[in-house]
Assembly symmetry: C2
Homo-oligomer: 308 residues x 2
Amino acid sequence: MNTPRPPLNIGSVERDTGLGKDTLRAWERRYGFPTPDRDEHGERLYPAEQVDRLRLIKRLIDLGYRPGKLVGAGEEELALLGAQSMPVAATTDGEEIAPQKAAPLIERVLGELREHDLPALQQTLSQALLREGLQRFVIDTVGPLNIAVGEAWMRGEIEVFEEHLYTEQITTLLRQALAGLAPSGQPPRVLLTTVPDELHTLGLLMVQALLALEGASCIPLGTQLPLFDLRQAAIAHRADIVALSFSAAFPTRQLQPLVGKLRELLPPEVELWIGGGGCTRLRPLAGLRILPTLEGALSALEEWRQRR
Amino acid sequence: MNTPRPPLNIGSVERDTGLGKDTLRAWERRYGFPTPDRDEHGERLYPAEQVDRLRLIKRLIDLGYRPGKLVGAGEEELALLGAQSMPVAATTDGEEIAPQKAAPLIERVLGELREHDLPALQQTLSQALLREGLQRFVIDTVGPLNIAVGEAWMRGEIEVFEEHLYTEQITTLLRQALAGLAPSGQPPRVLLTTVPDELHTLGLLMVQALLALEGASCIPLGTQLPLFDLRQAAIAHRADIVALSFSAAFPTRQLQPLVGKLRELLPPEVELWIGGGGCTRLRPLAGLRILPTLEGALSALEEWRQRR
DNA sequence: TGTTCATTTTGTCCTGTACAAAGCGAGGTG
DNA sequence: CACCTCGCTTTGTACAGGACAAAATGAACA
């Protein structure tokens, strides 16, 4: 049953973990981890277990931990993951203190994921959607579910492919709901996308659902739109708002300059809204609206409308 | 109107073009292109026009041209793009010789894209879907449309963001159609996904539509599933078939070894089907089914059923 | 017309070095 | 005691230049 997993070269590890080649080599030099073998030609070969650990470390770093502590240490990370509350939690206010409202549903979804019961999962989710309505479903259920699934993975309770299955089902469900909404044609016109290297589709879809439900005209442009093309798109579609999503995994290094550059690029009358797990690391900036929570998007929309 | 576009550093260029840092530096060394400026600290700054050209070169390489010819040369690429027929065209047989059957529709779609008329585009596409039926729509319309849109971009007739808009609309439409299909519960059970670094969602969705329409049980796992997790998923879901999609952009270098490794990893009774623009570069292999065309997926399904 | 072999092309990996921006903590000030 | 400033440490990313193997090409040959 348990095929010995083949080791990966540095390029594959970069793709699998999201850690750059340079970073991987730097960690090895500085912290003594990872410790890849070498093939006959002197190239690094990372054992699968070390790649697993790298993936975990990456997620913990995205949560706010420092590499020096994680990469150097051994096994006491296990303690850290048990403590699921991330140090970043105290961001703005204590607004995210109601995570276990949907606790029974969460347990049910996790169970169905572990059992690979796709029909049951689909039914559970669409029942929840119908029961709660799209807005409450997105805010109260999908949000906490996403977090719970991520944490369950970190605790080793579910596998990567089960997480993928979850994401895919939510995506399908949201797109289906979205398709049922007739285009309103009303303002504001909102452009939704992500920048290159950012694949955080789900968050974007959640925002789109909320905004479309309130009658905004959403223009989804998929993911990974280069900055300057985003400017062109905003002008061409006469957008009132450009909404971007950054996952927590987006490199902090590039976040601030990138958003600054984009703000300069966009016409000043176009608003720029940023959401997703990565946006808490952003410093305030004129003409920039930071939306750490989903409710934030709704109130931002309301404000926009009052302003007109 | 025309803001001077800011130059990009090497990391941004990597993300925007898909060309690795090492490759970018190697081209500069070998072919004398690109010729980035340097910032005050000696780091490369690529002018936006050179990034455009790099994007174009990348697409032409994906089509089968050699870097040495493209990167070294200057401006006569313009001639090449005019000749839209790629050298790889003569792959298996002359089966792809009916591209302009949908010509009027293609022109209409391109026009609506250029005018950013989202409602019209949506209507055109869903009318076509209803008129032709899902199967013919996917095979006869979406396939050629994808090619036409890509070529129009290369000719400079449409912008990147217009291409993104197109992709997004097709995705929405296909997912919507797919949602309308009740799960059949019938064999075969097909796992659909892509490997890390491969984002070619659309092709996967097209195959899913065709297979689901014929009553197969499709289990979509999104994109970028690591190899070993794919194995686990296949076992957990008791899959009969694993279907992967590779775009033409996938690095040839890694394609063959990766597929070989995967074939070893998967249980022998699970079939492995590979489709997408990248699969023509694959050499045949035992237990591997290469599907260069969409029709191929259908006949493969039929064969599978007869075998049982 | 098709197959084999030598040569060129090309992407990727290596080592070792360097530096700036972000994070952290000490110390001073209201 | 809270808050701000400043210097030190951490950390990601960039550079050069060399190396090599797999893929593509074209020439020689059957």
